[in-house]
């Protein structure tokens, strides 16, 4: 039950470093957008966005520090059901004989 004390494991410098990492990620996204990767442009953009989001969730929102044991499960379930919404909707759109 001594959960919130665990946050302090990270120093100010650590958070700033993460922040810089995220900024680099943004720059990479912009840079990658100008390179022709064919169908992989959106894939790369979303991959970087997802990595950034995971970093924010893990370190800024302290899921990695287990301050809230359920938090990870809760957030994952959110994305899981969003994935259901999108994938099953697209299951219709992508299989229509005419779009």
């Amino acid at each position: 039950m001594s959960e919130h004390e665990e946050h302090t494991t990270h120093s100010q410098g650590f958070y700033i470093a993460i922040g810089v990492g995220l900024l680099i990620g943004t720059a990479t996204t912009v840079g990658a957008a100008f390179v022709n990767l064919g169908p992989f442009n959106p894939v790369v953009a979303l991959l970087i966005a997802t990595i950034k989001a995971i970093v924010v969730v893990l370190f800024f929102m302290h899921v990695k520090d287990a301050s809230e044991k359920l938090a990870g499960a809760v957030v994952l379930s959110g994305f899981f059901f969003l994935a259901i919404l999108i994938s099953l909707s697209l299951a219709d759109y992508l299989t229509r004989s005419w779009r």
Partner: protein
């Protein structure tokens, strides 16, 4: 404090009802029990609004011609019936009234985790309710409760935006209720009350809350998009401007199909409690019944497009959704089988709540099985958008939800009000409800199969006989619903004083006084027993369940 019987002639102990009598002490209360009572009153009010519209519909359909009202009026009447019943009665009824009252008590907590948010939920519900009443009184809406675009976004000239706002606000009431329940169930359980010891009512409400949290925001944003499209004439769903009306249907049913489980799951929880108590047995296959609630909630999110088999979705998507839909059938069937198996070697009494439970099993079986007809692609093409669908969802939503709700209300009425209801009248009304219900809705299955489309103001004369039967049933049903309203009110003053545990039931809610004190328990209970430990509770068979 357990099973302390209060003599009728003494001043009652301080409880949540007599702890403050001012209007302020009610309207600004954060006590979950008082909020539950506020919901009870408001939800009942909307039930009678909705019921009034239902009677108008049935009266209009008594004859094939549209002679009672204008077509436009009829369209508004069935729209208001649907909207009020779905968003302001069926979705909140069991969680907000019984759930609100019982969840903290059943898990041995003093209140919900966020009492003020709970009160906020009620106010949001009321604001939404006032808005929809305003819409109702100033012209109404005529789109059906489904708001299908492009009719709703471009063609109707009724108050879509206001009605949408009402639903949006009521939706947030529902979201906050669900959030409150989940946190409460996770964080506020009494010592010793492990997940496997939770009453099935709690499990059911937990599953319901998951849907409220995950589904409601999607319909909220969808309604926002409809309103924006209507106000600024955008083309998000309007095909003339490049939009796709089917996208609206996808987003709408992503919530509105699971919403059906928001309605039915808590009632299923109630039924589990009732069958356990009046068979004096632990529910057969407790774990499976508990997990089937969660399974229904999760699988319920995978099946929404079965409302759209003829809407123009792709052939393959239709097959995927049809296939997935049958998976929901499994946990639903598991529940019915387990309830039936619980009766085996029980010690069954026929108190009113148990009659409702029997009624629930019967009606839900029919409602559930006809759902399989609709999930079967080849049949759905014929019966969708006909009275077959109307009959099916009334069997589930009215036959199921209301049976569970009324059963639960009778069962916990002594706890809520401290008084017993009159058993004879209650049995009579249960009979009225069951007979009236079947007479109203069974003919509609046949009507649907012979081809009467839903939302019809006039119809070919050959459908009249069945419609007359249905209207006759509706009047019986109305009596069945009015009776409890009268005798519950009567019992508040004249009903026998209830003991703390008039049913000799298991569960923490029966270990506190009737009605419970403001903080539910004088000291936090420590749970050392499994749920439904009826073997440890003296079986006072043949004893009248009334204290004195």
């Amino acid at each position: 404090m357990a099973s302390a019987v209060i003599p009728a002639n003494q001043a009652p102990k301080l409880n949540y009802l007599n702890n403050g009598h001012s209007l302020r002490s009610w309207l600004l209360t954060t006590d979950h029990k008082r909020i539950a009572v506020l919901y009870l009153i408001s939800v009942t009010t909307f039930f009678f609004f909705g019921g009034f519209f239902a009677m108008l519909i049935r009266l209009e359909l008594l004859t094939p011609q549209g002679d009672l009202m204008q077509a436009d009026t009829y369209n508004k009447v069935f729209t208001m019936h649907g909207m009020i019943m779905v968003f302001f009665f069926l979705i909140p009824v069991v969680p907000a009234v019984l759930g609100n009252f019982l969840i903290p008590i059943m898990i041995g907590a003093k209140d919900l985790a966020f009492p003020r948010i709970n009160l906020l939920s009620w106010y949001l519900y009321i604001i939404g309710g006032i808005l929809i009443t305003h819409v109702m009184l100033t012209g109404g809406v005529d789109t059906g409760w489904t708001f299908y675009s492009p009719f709703s976004t471009e063609y109707t000239n009724t108050k879509i935006v206001e009605a949408g706002l009402a639903v949006f606000i009521a939706g947030f009431s529902s979201i906050f209720t669900g959030l409150n329940f989940i946190v409460t169930i996770h964080r506020m359980r009494a010592p010793g009350l492990t997940w496997s010891r939770l009453p099935l009512f709690i499990w059911a409400n937990y599953a319901t809350s998951l849907i409220m949290i995950l589904g409601t925001p999607v319909v909220a944003i969808t309604i926002v998009l409809v309103a924006v499209e209507r106000l600024f004439h955008l083309g998000i769903f309007d095909p003339r401007l490049g939009g796709d009306p089917l996208l609206f249907q996808h987003l709408f049913w992503f919530y509105s199909h699971p919403a059906v489980y928001i309605m039915i799951l808590p009632s299923m929880g109630v039924i589990s409690e009732l069958i356990g108590c009046f068979s004096r047995k632990r529910i057969f296959g407790y774990k499976f019944v508990a997990l089937s609630s969660i399974a229904i909630a999760v699988i319920g999110f995978l099946v929404w497009a079965h409302h759209m088999f003829v809407a123009g979705i792709s052939l393959y998507a239709a097959m995927i959704f049809s296939f997935l839909t049958f998976f929901v059938g499994v946990p639903s069937a598991v529940k019915v089988f387990n309830w039936t198996a619980t009766l085996y070697k029980g010690s069954i009494s026929y108190a009113t709540p148990m009659l409702y439970a029997f009624g629930f099993i019967g009606l839900f079986t029919i409602g559930g099985l006809t759902g399989l007809f609709l999930a079967t692609l080849g049949i759905d093409v014929h019966v969708t958008d006909t009275y077959f669908v109307v009959a099916h969802f009334h069997y589930v939503m009215v036959g199921g939800v209301l049976m569970g709700y009324l059963g639960g209300l009778h069962f916990w009425w002594p706890k809520i009000s401290g008084r017993m209801y009159p058993e004879g009248w209650a049995k009579l009304s249960a009979l009225f409800v069951f007979v009236g219900f079947n007479l109203t809705f069974f003919p509609q299955f046949i009507l649907g199969y012979v081809g009467m489309p839903r939302r019809y103001w006039q119809y070919p004369p050959e459908f009249q006989v069945l419609n007359v039967l249905s209207t006759a049933g509706a009047s019986v049903l109305a009596v069945g619903y009015l009776l409890p309203m009268i005798y519950f009110l009567w019992s508040l003053r004249y009903g026998p004083i209830a003991s703390d545990n008039p049913w000799h039931a298991a569960g923490l809610e029966w270990k506190t006084t009737s009605p419970p004190p403001t903080f539910n328990f004088e000291e936090t209970p420590v749970v050392t027993w499994e749920a439904y430990n009826y073997d440890e509770i003296p079986d006072k068979e043949l004893e009248a369940p009334v204290a004195r």
